[in-house]
Symmetry: none
Subunit: 209 residues, 4 copies
Amino acid sequence: MRKIDPVKHEQKRRDILEAAGRCFAKDGFRGASISSICSEAKISAGHLYHYFASKEAIIEAMAATGLEHAEARFNHLMKSDNPIEGLIAEIEQANTQSCSAQQHQIDMRAKKQLHVDMLAEAGRNPAMAEIVNQHSTKIRGMLATLLETAQKRGQIDQTLDPDLAAAILLSAMEGVGNMTMRDPELDMKKKLDMLSTLIKRFLTPGSGK
Amino acid sequence: MRKIDPVKHEQKRRDILEAAGRCFAKDGFRGASISSICSEAKISAGHLYHYFASKEAIIEAMAATGLEHAEARFNHLMKSDNPIEGLIAEIEQANTQSCSAQQHQIDMRAKKQLHVDMLAEAGRNPAMAEIVNQHSTKIRGMLATLLETAQKRGQIDQTLDPDLAAAILLSAMEGVGNMTMRDPELDMKKKLDMLSTLIKRFLTPGSGK
Amino acid sequence: MRKIDPVKHEQKRRDILEAAGRCFAKDGFRGASISSICSEAKISAGHLYHYFASKEAIIEAMAATGLEHAEARFNHLMKSDNPIEGLIAEIEQANTQSCSAQQHQIDMRAKKQLHVDMLAEAGRNPAMAEIVNQHSTKIRGMLATLLETAQKRGQIDQTLDPDLAAAILLSAMEGVGNMTMRDPELDMKKKLDMLSTLIKRFLTPGSGK
Amino acid sequence: MRKIDPVKHEQKRRDILEAAGRCFAKDGFRGASISSICSEAKISAGHLYHYFASKEAIIEAMAATGLEHAEARFNHLMKSDNPIEGLIAEIEQANTQSCSAQQHQIDMRAKKQLHVDMLAEAGRNPAMAEIVNQHSTKIRGMLATLLETAQKRGQIDQTLDPDLAAAILLSAMEGVGNMTMRDPELDMKKKLDMLSTLIKRFLTPGSGK
DNA sequence: CATGAATGAGCATTCATTCAT
DNA sequence: GATGAATGAATGCTCATTCAT
């Protein structure tokens, strides 16, 4: 007679988070209103608070799960034996819409937008800063490990500090990702080729003098 | 009957813009209120509307003048004969606080914050998108010209497309600049050294295979 | 098909009423929420409505049973042959914490708070006004009867109208009880001694001129 | 051209305070809404916040000014040479509506209601508790001084501690004042006569044994 | 020029209550 | 009996903007 169904509850949470993601991408964390999120999620204003304690909590949950997904994907792509190839695969994955053109492009754009919003938010919201920093540290660690392994194999320059090199590479990749916002007129394919070149030259052994 | 003094008027506009910059850096474009800007600028709420038609207008004007300053500084630093040296100078200028430590660091952080905010805003505000894009295009043009000249002189790799290379370089620099937000624990000096290495390897002739 | 157990039902009602009492004392009738009462009573929000039709109904039931308890205690203490002694006993009972200091003091304070809240509520809620008035009339009747008996015995001034004197005495006692709220710094023991003096002088025969 | 008119501002504050008083008396501090106060004061919801920082601030200001008025009136009535006469005058002033029957009675009732509400609020709002306590302490001091003087003149019993006696008298008066809420059916005139008797017997010299 | 009074829509959040299970 | 999901109106408060002076 009395049951708590944690599965349904969790599913609803995810639904709301997705709706919130669409609203945040369109209007920003501050610009999106609770009522717009509720409309998008097709629930009443009051009911949202059975799932999240506050707007802040929604933002944090969304940032956290979003970054976890990114992390998982990155982790998967780093399985390659060659870090250069892995990075390039990751870049292409993150910046191109391969199949279901229209819909995917929207998701892509929304993800980039959320990413930049999180960075901006991190600058003034300590909770967000910590989420972003933890995620960044994790990803950096993964890449650093990969670089170290590759160094031992002689695939990449052995004089580079793996951690610092990872930091710089990820920053550069992020910067190039943001170009969609800054310079939407540039051809994505050409940018990615040039980025590949940059990465190869940076990492290739013997190029360090 | 006497006309307004256009010089004074322009000065007041600049004062307000500076005050707005401080508020926006602290609270974001949406988070900062007109009344807080007026307090900071020491004018009354109503009076602000003699200088700007709306909050939107303030945001746009601030973005525009802010980017013009950045542009001017970049232009000045690109005067060097060697683009690699120029870029590194620019990076250091943009990421370190040389003299009046405390105050400067605050300004630095505020500028970075505003920069990211503008990027985020550009994603949803077409007016902001155009401002950011125009500025980006200008800076990219400058750097591309410089790279082209250097290619002719044989200082850098001649196989690189100057425009694309400039785009990638600027993106990477921006990404590294944003690291302060993502990973505040990393040592700035080391990051800049690594970035220099990246740029050198990317541009140095003969490294292309 | 089996009927509800009226004993259990009544017990649950009492449990809820007690929980409600704690919440109301802490946050007031308006300030306490149904959900906080349900938490305190360890039942679900919806289930409460099997026992009470509305928040209003809870408030009224709580006021009624609370006053019935007060009434019973008063009735018991008025059993004494001498009304002066009885009143003083009642005052001490109502204003001091004899044994389990800490806990009792909390209960004391909560009761006083509820008492004042009821009075305030009575001013704008006719249902509450009637409850308070009925209770007050009953208690006043008891005391009046007692005074009348004592007058016949010559224990107290015979010129006093018993009903009016009872009203005034009860009011004064209530006022002194409320002093805990108004002037918490005053010593309770001394106040009670002074109140005893007041009562004695008021009632003692021959003091009327 | 530019003027701040503090007189007008202060007048508006008072207007709002009066409107708030009416709303609070009708619905209680918690029950009255900002929007109802604004309707009553004929201003917009937002504009109220130019005059008061919060609802809390309105409540406190209203309590403070209300008690100041009461204090002033009390002070004036205590000018009499005989404290017994003064107190009785005060009681009558506070509990009867002499002239403009209808309107005054409403004010009277509203004042009593607010008084009880303040006491209830003081039990859980420290700010209100302090306001009530400060006022109470002041009034008590006045009365104690008066009693002391009268003791020296031999007008009242010299064995009573003036401060405690003042506390008890004020409490009793308050309790009787609250009777309007508890027992509205009782005749006010008779109650006041009986209260006079109580006071006289309490204070008259020689009645202490 | 410059002020600050004034507006009214909008915000995040809370709450008493209902209902399907 | 008993649960917790669901509602939607209401609350205190903020804000960009306008306007009389």
